[in-house]
Symmetry: C2
Subunit: 206 residues, 2 copies
DNA sequence: TGTACATCAGTGAACGCGCGTTCACTGATGTAC
DNA sequence: TGTACATCAGTGAACGCGCGTTCACTGATGTAC
């Protein structure tokens, strides 16, 4: 039965949101069209009223995931207008990024740590969307987090360390809880010890 | 037609080697049983003479991948018995790990950077095998590369940075060559600037 | 050391399940008059 | 503002392809005597 244009747009948005969560939890290959539609409260048949293909949904989900992540990043540093506040926000960001809670909820956290190695195999539009997302996230991170020095290079190094650590921590979580925990705390300590250093906050090296 | 036991064992080894390359290139889901058998010069029907399931092959491939990687690591530092040689080997390792050549040949390089986010979704035996591999690699890395301080923690931080950078560099390679290149060189520079520091070689922070 | 038979690695066709995609249908919405 | 008709979001069955897995078969190897 036909529904309001507005209702249809909301349905589509819910499908994209569901996909943004599920793609991080299960990967693009592990995600089913029917499953996503069900998670959005719909049946699978109507999928192609909104998307030309599963890949088109994948692309929309990747954009959504980066949009959310970047918005969250900006919000975390929104009020940090003094050096002290900036350092506090930075430490909070690190502690949260490398927390058990984040590790155990990939569906709600960093796109790069959840999809990074898959993304290297994406084709066409999905590959483009992911690369654009990485660039946007790095850009936002460099702008917000850093002053002086080569901000972009520092942002790259810091994010590499963060995403790598979260990814490795997740890979071990199910079977070696101690190692998984040690990865989180080791990298947390390493990065936190730098946030106070003037002009090189969050840079893993300089 | 029946063949020599020895020949059969060689065939199985070739299948595992092919899988070890292909799983890094395409991921476990993207890898087909028939494809792996063909790459090993066989037909798909005989697969179940060697393995109980595709997952069992996956497990063997993951072990093989880590075995190869750790052997390569050990070899690189084999003759480094002085501090100067150790620093040189370390710089060589970093330069190679974060090279275009490595980036463009996932099938022959680091398991963690090629499979990390997939591994977080592995189940059962594959998950265990991967986690064991990470632990073995970290152990080898800590023993070989580091002296003094908390070697294991430093190894974790350094490897997180390396795997994260290689992964991100690959995700951008197809669509944003400049960014991909910048990721490699930024992290190369950041890590290389530390290898000479006494007692904290390769530690991203201390 | 030969000989006869059982074993089993490899082959290629076939099965069957999952999943992306298509399709006929429904009925409320949007629109033309 | 009503009215009649076309549109189209949503439904659920069905299609069809890919791929993991199974199976009957082959013939050389391994083994029992």
């Amino acid at each position: 039965m036909r529904i309001t244009k507005e209702a249809a747009a909301q349905n589509k948005a819910r499908v994209v949101e569901a996909a943004a969560r599920l793609i991080r939890e299960k990967g693009f290959d592990g995600l089913g069209v029917a499953e996503v539609m069900k998670a959005a409260g719909l049946t699978h048949g109507g999928f192609y009223n909104h998307f030309g293909s599963k890949e088109e949904l994948g692309r929309a989900a990747i954009r959504e995931v980066f949009d959310t992540a970047i918005a969250g990043l900006r919000q975390r540093f929104a009020g940090a207008d003094t050096e002290a506040k900036r350092v506090a926000a930075l430490n909070g960001y690190i502690a949260r990024y490398l927390s058990e809670s984040t590790r155990d909820n990939p569906g709600r956290s960093c796109p790069m740590a959840a999809l990074g190695t898959d993304a290297a195999r994406y084709q066409g539009a999905m590959q483009e969307e992911f690369a654009r997302g990485v660039e946007r996230y790095l850009q936002a991170f460099a702008e917000i987090v850093q002053r002086g020095g080569d901000a972009h290079a520092d942002a790259i190094t810091a994010l590499s360390t963060l995403t790598g650590a979260l990814m490795l921590s997740r890979a071990c979580a199910g079977t070696n809880a101690a190692l998984s925990q040690r990865i989180l705390s080791a990298v947390r300590d390493a990065l936190s010890s730098q946030t106070g250093a003037p002009g090189m906050a969050l840079a893993a090296a300089r």
